[in-house]
Amino acid sequence: MANAADSVWSGRYSRQTRFAPIGEAGQRKLADACVLIVGVGALGASLAQHMVRAGVGEVRLADRDFVEPSNLQRQMLFDEADALAVLPKAVAAANKLRHINSAVRVEASVVDVNALTVQQLAAGADLVLDGTDNAATRLLLSDVCFQRHIPFIYGGVAGAQGMNAALVPGRTACLRCLIGASDGEGEADTCDTVGVLSPAVEFVASLQAAEAIKWLTGNQDAMRQTWVSVDLWSFRLRESALPSGREECSYCGQGHGGNSDANAAAERDDEAMHSVVLCGRDTVQVTLGSTLNLERLEKRLSVQSFPLTVNRYLVRAKLPGGEQLVIFPDGRVLVQGTTEASHAVRLCKTYLLERTTDDYLGMEGSVRNEQGSMA
């Protein structure tokens, strides 16, 4: 039975293995590889699709957000049913990917990627692909990748513009050295402010996926050592040479890679504190002090007769004031309809917490941008 099934799919990668630089040997390397994709929005969905179709052994998806109608114009793995069901993006994407290639182990994590969660996600990965939408998370991923000696393949899109660079420990500088450490200030254009064209997304995701496949199939020498900037509207493409690591940097400097020295760790932790502070859409992410029991929460909210949408992964409640709470069991709440952290925290206190003052402690609000992870 298993043999018969195997024979049906025996030619599955034939067009990829016929490509000489990959061959059967490269295909076996792909099958042994593990890739982490952070952010499963526009770039992330496209990247995941490339990795799964190519036959990467394990693909980990991490995303903190859920599917909405405004995603469907460019986030290739999602459909109307996903948006109506308010499915978490990681879950909706994994469902599609398992149909595309059941031989790939697809792990979906509905999680905010920050200093607390990133290490476990990255452990054992051969590569991290960037599907995020903010500089702070990218800096965190760059730090972790350089510590772990694995490549971080940055991609960014906004409007018709895109950028891509494969940052490789031992070969190139890290993202922190290239763009500077300060986040928040000077945050670049986002898809929320300037929109984004689907072809720009696919263009950048293709650049990222190509570099990933080179790395994973043992074709490291074929990788570009350049930063590509492209504008698909005016069609202007520029390739700039990437410098190598900076001696004094605790991430990309020679002799520093892999050392998680105290300073570096402290720096990283500082970063995490505001790694979700972004603006854009009308949403605040509130992190409660503890995890939530969705079932109990659903009961309590339904007593108050708010319109609810419930699935296995989250509860969405429409509040009388027009705001929406999207509540995840890990203790995160996306409060839509406000940009004021204090207001969002007040709503969470009012509607979500049991009436013990202890629960009120340890709640922090941070403004974030549209899809926590996506263009």
């Binding site: 960037d130 960014g156 050295c177 763009i179 000077g186 670049a188 898809c191 700039s240 410098p243």
Partner: protein, 285 residues
């Protein structure tokens, strides 16, 4: 004030309420007048006509007190109603001739221009002065949106009516604008957005005075920035970024084909003839 007298202005100030939340426009403008501002424009693109009228009345009284001409952006009718000294037009607004017909021969008419053709057209059409800018990039495309000091230099050569350089000008880069041939400077956020507008105005006036119309940039070099020729005194990548007003942006900077790491901007010197590409980090995903 006679026509000849107002022509001598060196420092032009424009209101920008969003730059000083919580402080009334009249208070901030009075500070600029105390600091020596020589012409004041009311610019309010978001308020209702009634709000503009109210501000215009207040600023008319204030500018009379300091004997400084008062210009209103758009609204020729409010110019007449408040007895302001003139109107400032954008390229999209009514033609100069139409404004002249409405306002008569004695009122001042100024118009913003972004290239030499527009400048010469404004001159032909009877404008009394022109704005030349934006000299420095003010938003998303560094080095590209701006007309740069090269248009200032063209205007200095070819325009015979007074021109005032405007757009992203700060005390950090005003010397470049003066060196390119500007004799009149307009700064907006650098002045009304500061905590001490009077003192900033005095500093601008000292710099304009010191330039005396024959400024030379010390150690100037010619660079290609995003495909445009730029004269600059910047010694390092960091200084260039500041002169272009981009210090708060996340940028990717390429110097002669290679990315310059952010941490190396201060240490990376610019040589005459260098080629620079500057793009904003693209952050969506």
């Amino acid at each position: 004030m006679s026509r000849e007298a107002w022509l001598d202005f060196r420092l032009y100030v424009i209101t920008a309420q969003s730059n000083h939340p919580g402080k009334p426009v009249v208070d901030v403008i009075e500070q600029t007048l105390i600091g020596g501002a020589q012409i004041v424009q009311l610019r309010n693109k978001t308020g209702t006509r009634a709000e503009v009228l109210e501000q215009a009345k207040a600023l008319r009284l204030l500018t009379r007190k300091y004997n400084v001409p008062f210009i209103i952006n758009d609204y020729p009718d409010i110019v007449i109603e408040t007895d302001a000294d003139g109107v400032h037009l954008g390229q999209e607004d009514m033609p100069v001739a139409e404004a002249r017909r409405l306002l008569g021969p004695d009122r001042i008419i100024g118009i913003s221009t972004h290239n030499l053709d527009q400048a010469l057209a404004a001159e032909r059409d009877g404008a009394d002065y022109i704005g030349v800018g934006p000299v420095f990039p003010t938003d998303t495309k560094p080095g590209r949106a701006a007309v740069t000091t090269s248009y200032v230099a063209e205007a200095a050569r070819h325009v015979s009516i007074p021109f005032v350089a405007i757009g992203g000008i700060t005390l950090d880069n005003v010397d470049l604008v003066l060196a390119a041939g500007a004799k009149r400077i307009c700064a907006v956020s650098a002045i009304v957005g500061s905590d001490d507008p009077a003192s900033v105005c005095r500093s601008f006036l000292r710099r304009i005075e010191a330039a005396g119309g024959k400024a030379e940039i010390a150690n100037k070099k010619s660079l290609t920035v995003n495909g445009r020729q730029e004269l600059t005194s910047a010694r390092t990548v960091e200084e260039l970024v500041q002169q272009l007003g981009q210090q708060n942006k996340k940028l990717i900077i390429e110097l002669n084909g290679v990315i310059v790491q952010r941490a190396q901007w201060t240490a990376t010197e610019l040589q005459d003839g260098a080629s620079i590409e500057m793009v904003h980090f693209v952050g969506g995903g």
